[in-house]
């Protein structure tokens, strides 16, 4: 059958012209990074497409100038990035290094013995709390490689000034603001309720549960105790969501709204929504829509406290950072040497200039060179002062559990699930 195959290929190539042959054969031979067997061979590095790719590429180019083994960057679109990694991990195309979110998304690979444990001495270059999600099943496999991405409340300063109100410090303030802005014909909170974007709704659940019950509840759920969903504060959080939706906190059409430009970010940046609960990355998106808005009207505060809740209002949730992970396919020496670059001053400064706030020990001294130092310092302090940084639940759980959970969250926001149904449906995911 193989013989037949290649004969077909040749035939087709003749028919389709030599150009087809040249291009595709070229692709065929360079795809794998797995074949490097010598420790100082080449390493393929997979990352997700985003604006900081230029910083990664700069670090790689600098490294490649002096190193024997070369690192090559593959930029993969964010939609479907995780599934590309998963499919590659079982195949010959396994990358040597890859960008990821740590936590549960890595645990299958750790169990399967695909990852290389990193040298503990590397830890000294990073802040303590963001290192946690890089330690999976007791093994240090993820090295922080990006800025921290906490979730917090963005608000529109001029809309608040017009209404004569302050950003919320307590949950009661927040409920009050919903009424204020509704009366003024402004959507209180922009949120993206379409199926692909229900992670924006998850952010609300994360904060409500954290403020009500503290971070340990989810920690035990992520640690394997799925019955933690029975905790009354989960039901209470779901009921609060139901109330918020009923009160019109998200407007009436959020079920058809997508995240990003043309969706939530544009709603917020054009003053049609007063607030949004979102991760730090949205700053760049807002800037793309209106640089005027981010310069003059953009305000930000931590998620408010809930009276009577057990959680510390200083706790944050979001992506502690992103991680770089080494697999068994990597040329060991090259990859290990390369990992030294992700906490170098030049790499960190490159990220800071793009508005990122990395979690290395040398970050604080470089923040003054950020394009918006006030914002960068807000992020840094939010994270540095937080007693606990809960990793986004979908990342912490891994997509096998997170996908059905996100579906149930979407149904809760849509009113397809009652709070009680929400709890029982989520419980049923892992029975």
């Amino acid at each position: 059958m193989m013989n037949n195959m290649s004969r077909r290929q040749v035939l087709a190539a003749l028919a389709g012209g030599a150009a087809v042959m040249a291009t595709t054969a070229g692709c065929g031979f360079k795809s794998a990074g797995a074949s490097s067997s010598s420790p100082d061979g080449d390493v393929s590095y997979w990352t997700q497409v985003d604006p900081t790719n230029t910083v990664q590429q700069a670090a790689i180019s600098a490294f490649n100038k002096t190193a024997k083994g070369q690192v090559t960057l593959s930029e993969i679109a964010s939609t479907g990035y995780l599934s590309k990694i998963q499919t590659a991990m079982g195949s010959s195309a396994m990358p040597g290094l890859f960008f990821n979110w740590g936590g549960g998304s890595l645990s299958e690979y750790v169990k399967a013995g695909k990852l290389v444990e990193l040298d503990a001495s590397l830890k000294s270059h990073f802040l303590a709390s963001p290192l946690q999600a890089g330690i999976v099943d007791g093994k240090f496999v993820g090295l922080p490689c990006r800025g921290t991405q906490p979730v917090f409340l963005y608000y529109n300063k001029s809309l608040f000034a017009q209404a004569g109100v302050q950003p919320p410090a307590t949950y009661d303030d927040l409920l009050n603001l919903v009424q204020v802005f509704k009366k003024r014909g402004v959507i209180p909170f922009a949120i993206a309720g379409t199926s692909a974007n229900s992670w924006t709704e998850l952010m609300w659940i994360e904060y409500l549960v954290d403020r009500l019950a503290g971070p340990d509840l989810f920690k035990s759920i992520a640690g394997g105790d799925w019955s933690g969903w029975k905790d009354p504060s989960i039901l209470q959080a779901a009921q609060m969501v139901e109330e918020l939706v009923a009160a019109g906190a998200f407007g009436t059409t959020f079920g058809s709204v997508n995240y990003g430009a043309g969706g939530t970010s544009t709603l917020f940046a054009t003053g049609r929504a007063a607030m949004q609960l979102m991760g730090s990355w949205d700053y760049a998106t807002l800037q793309g829509i209106s640089a005027d808005f981010t310069a003059n009207d953009l305000g930000y505060v931590a998620f408010p406290a809930i009276g009577g809740g057990k959680g510390d209002p200083k706790n944050v949730s979001g992506n502690p950072t992103n991680y770089l992970t080494m697999t068994t396919a990597a040329a060991r020496t090259t990859a290990t040497d390369f990992l030294q670059t992700v906490f170098s001053d030049s790499y960190v400064l490159g990220l800071v200039k793009m508005g990122e706030v990395p979690v290395t020990t040398n970050t604080k001294s470089l923040l003054s060179q950020s394009s918006d130092p006030a914002y960068s310092n807000f992020l840094y302090d939010l994270v540095a002062d937080a007693p606990s940084f809960t990793q986004s639940w979908d990342q912490a759980l891994g997509s096998t559990l997170a996908t059905p959970m996100l579906t149930e969250i979407q149904k809760l926001f849509n009113g397809q699930d009652s709070p009680a149904q929400f709890v029982s449906n989520v419980l049923a995911i892992q029975s």
């Binding site: 065929g28 964010s78 939609t79 479907g80 195949s91 990003g260 544009t266």
Partner: protein, 278 residues
């Protein structure tokens, strides 16, 4: 005896109104697409998609070109051409054997392709991925071309053999009497006579490749092997901060077919029409 005006000359108000409505249904979204693609981001956010663009800009188009989209279009053209070539190279001889061959084997061959007609590519994508991987074709254009061609085969066999069946037996008899080999019969008579159905199959296979989404999604990953459909899918996330640029990419993805349409409209339309003749 009453005289009636001939059928053709009576005004048909119903069809007039209905086609006007349909013109709006087709036209409004296309207008919105074009106008949005030529607007700046801030004017799109303020004015929405139906406004007359006050600040015409081609910056979206340039930014899409800079993002490498032209390369994706090139890849798509390569994949379409190669898969059409493969499909025709295999389906013409198959159809010939099916139509003129004897015995239960050739009938069996035809039945296999009939059944294959409705195999959804999704249903076999997992093992197919493994096979492509085993052949070392993951993340190459061949990893897309080969399965795309295979899944265009059933319809093509059906269409081409349909065309070949229309050739009368006497013509075959005559050629056979001249002692022509099957190859000669195929090349000298069968192919020219079933030209239009072969063209239809070709157009169909090209459209399948052009529209293909699942195979590129699963079989490729890097930028150098990206096709337009997947490029658009990725732009949804990459350009989550820029709607006009996203819509400019949508618009540009149609340019190659538009060129074909403008210059070979008759052939394209005739090829598509032919598919319905059976």
């Amino acid at each position: 005896m009453r005289t009636r005006r001939p059928y053709n000359q009576r005004p048909n108000y119903f069809s007039g109104v209905a086609t006007l409505v349909w013109l709006l249904i087709i036209g409004v979204p296309l207008y919105a697409l074009i106008s949005a693609a030529l607007q700046t981001q801030s004017s799109y956010a303020q004015e929405g998609p139906l406004s007359l663009p006050t600040h015409l800009t081609f910056s979206n188009v340039t930014s899409v070109i800079q993002s490498g989209f032209v390369g994706y279009i090139g890849n798509t053209i390569l994949v379409s051409a190669a898969s059409v070539a493969l499909v025709l190279a295999m389906c013409v001889p198959i159809s010939y054997a099916v139509v003129r061959g004897t015995g239960w084997i050739t009938r069996g061959v035809f039945r296999i392709f009939l059944l294959g007609l409705a195999i959804p590519a999704q249903a076999v994508i997992i093992p197919l991925f493994l096979i492509i991987n085993q052949l070392g074709l993951y993340d190459t254009l061949w990893g897309v071309i080969l399965p795309t061609a295979a899944f265009s085969m059933p319809v093509s066999v059906l269409v081409i053999s349909g065309g070949m069946r229309e050739i009368s037996g006497e013509l075959y008899e005559a050629m056979a009497l001249d002692g022509a080999s099957p190859r000669k019969v195929l090349m000298d008579m069968v192919v020219p006579l079933s030209r239009s159905s072969i063209a239809t199959a070709g157009v169909f296979a090209a459209l399948q490749a052009w529209n293909g989404f699942l195979f590129p999604l699963i079989m490729t990953q890097s930028d150098s092997t990206k096709l337009t459909t997947l490029g658009l899918y990725n732009f949804v996330s990459t350009y989550s901060d820029d709607v006009p640029a996203l819509l400019a990419a949508v618009l540009m993805s149609a340019v190659p077919i538009l060129v074909v349409y403008l210059f070979a409209r008759r052939a394209l339309v005739a090829g598509l029409m032919g598919a319905g003749g059976k």
